[in-house]
């Protein structure tokens, strides 16, 4: 854990008694009250708190929804309708859980984008970053299985399309892909058996995510937070204690984000979903366009951009798995794009290409969309595999400030003793 002076003083005799036996309050105080946070972190650094909040919200609403949901092919759809219509505040629980998944991903994308912009993956934060990628993969699996549960048309056909991807392994080892798909389905087609196992996993995985988040936060508190300058905390005046400074900033950002969230929960609950999912699953009728939820659209576009099924699947999975190697693909000595005049532009081009892929993923795979999807898929990989290593070498970064304090105040801390003391 990052070393800093403890201000923890047990107030009562009972507190002192516990402190000598299990200093849990002391550890929590050290990590979430005294913990030094860079004084210059901006609002993008509040997304970690947002994500923790949404994980808790999804688990809390999910547990109650699970009390009313029936995971069988015959009753799943009707049980969700019963939740909406007959359970007290069931409509609210369901809207929060459904819209919450979208906002969870929205916050995650901002969080990841921030990491990429400010170089938060660079040493010594590689493990922190990799745990983050693992959490992201777990979130995707959880969301995908959760989407199957209402057992509407899109649920059913999304499960069919995505599980069928594994049959592409048949091109390498004939028969193996089919075996895997049937093993996933628990039969010879997507059925109630598939739904029940997805339900079990959808209940399990959030707790795995919670554990991984625990590791993520642990790793964060060992290496400390990155900040917009990308330089480490060097002196007391570079940081402020987490409470009340970072905490209040986090809570304020949370209240604004939840305000937007509530607008969708109460006034646009279906906006982010697909209307076909209010038609009960029917294996005999395929919807004209099968599309995933918005947060999967870029990967769906990559999948369909590649003409070969197996290569498409490999491209889709590697588009995310490649993120694991970003700490080593980026060769720059400087963390923050703020001081990287060339990389900064490429970062925004990368963001645009991901958004473009998202749009193209929502369109049918036909000209001109498929051509553009190929173009942006190529650019996506070009960015990670070629641009990121090369720019780091050829670019000459702008001069860095000597310290965080200098970046904030424009001068060195020697003349700023009062301000530094103000943080304590």
């Amino acid at each position: 854990m990052a070393s800093h002076e403890s201000s923890f003083r047990p107030a009562s005799r009972a507190g002192k008694w516990l402190d000598e036996r299990l200093p849990l309050p002391r550890v929590m105080h050290g990590q979430f009250v005294d913990f030094p946070t860079p004084r210059n972190i901006n609002y993008l650094w509040t997304t970690g708190g947002l994500l923790t909040f949404f994980l808790g919200l999804q688990i809390a609403t999910g547990v109650v929804l699970a009390m009313h949901y029936i995971p069988s092919a015959g009753e799943a759809f009707s049980s969700v309708e019963a939740i909406r219509r007959d359970v007290n505040y069931g409509w609210l629980l369901r809207n929060i859980h459904m819209v919450g998944a979208s906002f969870f991903f929205l916050a995650a994308y901002i969080h990841i984008g921030r990491g990429l912009y400010y170089g938060s993956y660079k040493g010594p934060r590689e493990v922190l970053w990799i745990i983050g990628v693992v959490i992201f993969l777990l979130m995707m699996a959880t969301a995908f299985m959760g989407y199957s549960l209402p057992w509407g048309q899109m649920s059913f056909w999304a499960v069919t399309v995505i599980t069928n991807l594994f049959s592409s392994i048949d091109a390498v080892i004939p028969g193996l892909g089919t075996r895997i798909v049937q093993w996933l389905w628990g039969g010879f087609s997507v059925s109630g058996t598939t739904l029940t196992r997805f339900y079990a996993l959808h209940y399990l995985l959030p707790f795995v995510i919670a554990a991984a988040v625990g590791l993520h936060i642990w790793a964060l508190h060992v290496v400390g937070q990155n900040n917009p300058t990308g330089i480490e905390i060097k002196q007391p005046s570079d940081s402020v204690p987490m409470a009340p400074y970072a905490i209040f900033k986090d809570i304020f950002a949370l209240s604004v984000f939840v305000l937007l969230f509530a607008w969708f929960v109460f006034y646009l609950p279906d906006y982010l979903g697909h209307s076909d999912n209010y038609i009960e699953a029917n294996p005999l009728s395929t919807p004209p366009h099968i599309v995933p939820e918005w947060y999967f659209l870029p990967y769906y576009a990559i999948l369909r951009a590649i003409p070969d099924k197996l290569l498409g699947v490999i491209a889709m999975f590697s588009s995310i798995l490649l993120l694991i190697f970003v700490p080593w693909l980026d060769t720059s000595r400087v963390r923050s794009a703020k001081y990287r005049p060339v990389y900064k532009w490429f970062f925004w081009m990368f963001v645009i290409s991901v958004i473009a892929l998202g749009y193209l993923g929502s369109k049918p795979p036909e000209p001109p969309y498929v051509g553009w999807a190929r173009f942006f898929t190529a650019y996506y990989f070009l960015h990670l595999l070629v641009i990121l290593p090369i720019v780091g070498v050829i670019e000459s970064p702008r001069p860095l400030p000597r310290s965080i304090t200098e970046a904030v105040l424009g001068k060195e801390p020697a003349t700023q003793v009062a301000s530094a003391g103000g943080g304590k």
Partner: protein
Amino acid sequence: MIGLKTTTAAAAVLLAASLGASASAQEGGHAAPRIERQNWTFSGMVGRFDAGQLQRGFRVYSEICSRCHSVSRLSFRNLVQPGGPEFPEAGVKSLAADKYKVDAEPNEQGKILKRPAVLADRIPGPYKNDQEARASQPGGALPPDLSLITRARSIESQAPFYMVPLNMMRDILAGYQEAGADYLYAYLTGFKEPPKDVKVPDGMNYNEAFPAPHFTGMPNPFAGGNDAVKYDDGTPQTVDNYARDVTAFLAWASDPTLAERKRLGVLVMVYLLITALLLYFAKRRIWSNMH
């Protein structure tokens, strides 16, 4: 506060631009059917269903739609509940008991007899099962259950890609949730004579709101024209009103908790807004010695 002002101004500019651009996009003329947005009493932040309209809509449903379609997720009790058609309880009780017979529990001999329906029963549909429903239709198509129909339909965007963010912004700011109702109204009023060069297959009907090639299994439900359904509250008995009223009724059937949702929504939004403001000032105060 400057940040907030600029954001608001930017949002206003974007909104204006999106409205102007969508108007010009409409003139473009696209092959896909264009669905007009309607004014609904239940749209927007404080929108509510109009009980009178839902009562008329229920009458249209009962006299026309219910010949082929069920609303199986509705119970008789829903017709009485606040936020819905709010029929008097006694009226719904006698409607259920007089007009509908449902299966009773098996008696001592194991026979399943019929009993009059009560408030707690689901509203029975016209057919025993899907097979019977298909068999009764000239084209063999299944008349879908209507209890989720407006949620299960939407309008596919035809906008060019550069309009998508602006349209999204406009719909999000307006809280536009009524695409299903707009589509349903367009569909119910979309039965037209087919163009000269179009040959409509047997058992199918031409409907300009239905996705291309515009052939739908359902015949025009309002072929009887005006005055086919009697209204007793003075509302003009026109096909347009029938379509509008039954769409509102089915929108309620899809979303019976709308009134509760919007009422609570206002409170939550106000509460969160005040909380956010207080937290903003608290945060500024705390950080004031750090800048």
